[in-house]
């Protein structure tokens, strides 16, 4: 019992670092995702291509490779960053790219009738987009963005690879000092599960509430959409 508590005490500070990394990442990645979602469909060709390139690389490379590229690759270009800033950049790039795609497909998921209706009311395009389409799109985007936030916290475990002192790094250090890898990693697993499972349950519940209006009526052969 004592060893478990000891291990928990050794790993707990890592949770703070993980939360900081996840928090900063989300605060940067979601707004950037919205901006890039607009850029990908921008009328200017150069903006469009640049946005697609950034997003495709962010989604196409394993996060681990992005982390190494920034932490171990940039020094080659005389840019030496500490683990936390490196992780923030790599995470924002990757998570932001996923967020971009989620926001973009949410905008496309808003029924065309909404655009037609806005046009019929003679709303200027800008107003139609920002006050009619975007609010509905963001509502559609909430469940996937919540799941992405949970995933982001889970991914902070990769910080280990660039010596960021988060939960995994702490577990590995504690495990190698006391030669108790099993206990350390079991405690790490419990910490992650204790944060992620309740969050997932909450996210699932909220998702159900947000989509109540989309559910077919019981007993009726409803052909919605």
């Amino acid at each position: 019992m004592d060893t478990i508590l000891e291990t928990l005490a050794a790993l707990f500070p890592g949770l703070g670092t993980a939360a900081v990394l996840a928090g900063i990442t989300l605060a940067l990645a979601y707004p950037l995702g919205a901006v890039f979602a607009l850029c990908i469909d921008a009328p200017i060709r150069f903006v469009r291509l640049a946005a697609v390139a950034v997003v495709e690389v962010g989604r196409g490379l394993p996060l681990l490779v992005l982390l190494y590229l920034i932490y171990r690759g940039l020094p080659q270009a005389d840019i030496v960053l500490d683990p936390l800033p490196s992780a923030v950049i790599a995470f924002t790039w990757s998570i932001g790219s996923y967020a971009t795609e989620m926001i973009r497909s949410s905008i496309q998921a808003v029924p065309d009738g909404q655009t037609d209706a806005a046009r019929a009311l003679n709303l200027p395009d800008r107003v139609a987009f920002f006050s009619v389409i975007l609010p509905q799109a963001l509502r559609i985007a909430i469940p996937p963005l919540m799941n992405l936030a949970i995933k982001t916290f889970q991914l902070t475990s990769l910080g280990y690879a660039i010596t960021l002192s988060e939960v995994m790094q702490a577990a590995h250090r504690h495990g190698s000092v006391h030669f108790k890898f099993l206990e350390s990693f079991v405690v790490a697993a419990v910490i992650y599960a204790a944060v992620i499972i309740p969050c997932s349950v909450l996210a699932r519940r909220l998702e159900r509430r947000l989509s109540l209006h989309l559910r077919p009526v019981q007993g009726v052969n409803a052909t919605t959409q």
Partner: protein, 214 residues
């Protein structure tokens, strides 16, 4: 310098092999798991659900280390490859079971009623009514998952599987040029996921034509 590019590129074989092994295990196990989830008594169903939630909640890196560094304390010593295949296979089983569940949920109530009205036995209903339609809706999702699994396999580098990322790391140690080495690794990952994305779009189009639900 150039010799290291080849050294990294060879790792693509291990990356693809690991991804394919995990994916095949996932498909092979997810179907029975989903069957159990739909037919077993509530208690067993709850157990399976809990197992899937735990597998997905704990990061794969933790699972890898738990098996690789932790299991030897029980006298179970597994090499990098078996560890990576077990962990990623387990992960893909859990994910694919969830994908199948979504696909089955997408089948209209009328399909079940029609199958029952025709007096189909449970197996025939699964074989001729449910499976084709589930396949139709899950193929694109499975392809997306395969691509994410390809990237997930990079984690195996942390326990010493000689795949792309590990080799890029080693080449970085030898040459000091991490920028080039990890860029090369990144490009290889992009090249590997492109054909998968392309193939999925083609298969998707063909299945759409064949099982058109109009």
């Amino acid at each position: 310098m150039m010799e290291y590019l080849g050294y990294i590129a060879i790792g693509a074989g291990a990356t693809v092999g690991l991804t394919a092994a995990a994916f095949v295990i996932g498909i092979a196990l997810a179907v029975p798991v989903e069957w159990v989830r739909r037919t077993a008594p509530p208690f067993v169903r709850g157990l399976v659900n809990a197992a899937i939630d735990v597998i997905r909640a704990v990061p794969n890196l933790v699972w890898l280390f738990l098996v690789f560094f932790g299991m030897p304390q029980f006298g179970i010593v597994l090499g990098p490859w078996p560890t990576a295949i077990i962990v990623l296979g387990m992960y893909s089983t859990a994910c694919i079971a969830e994908i199948l569940r979504g696909g089955i949920a997408a089948i209209g109530q009328g399909q079940w009623e029609a199958a029952n009205a025709l007096g189909l036995r449970q197996f025939d209903r699964a074989r001729f009514v449910v499976a084709p339609q589930v396949l139709r809706v899950t193929i694109p999702v499975l392809a997306t998952f395969a691509i994410s699994l390809l990237k997930e396999s990079a984690l195996a580098s942390t326990i010493g599987v000689l795949e792309i990322t590990y080799r890029a790391g080693y080449a970085t140690q030898r040459t000091g040029d991490g920028l080039t080495m990890f860029l090369v690794a990144g490009v290889i990952y992009l090249l590997l996921s492109l054909p998968l994305a392309f193939a999925s779009r083609r298969v998707d189009g063909r299945l759409r034509a064949r099982f058109s639900l109009g």
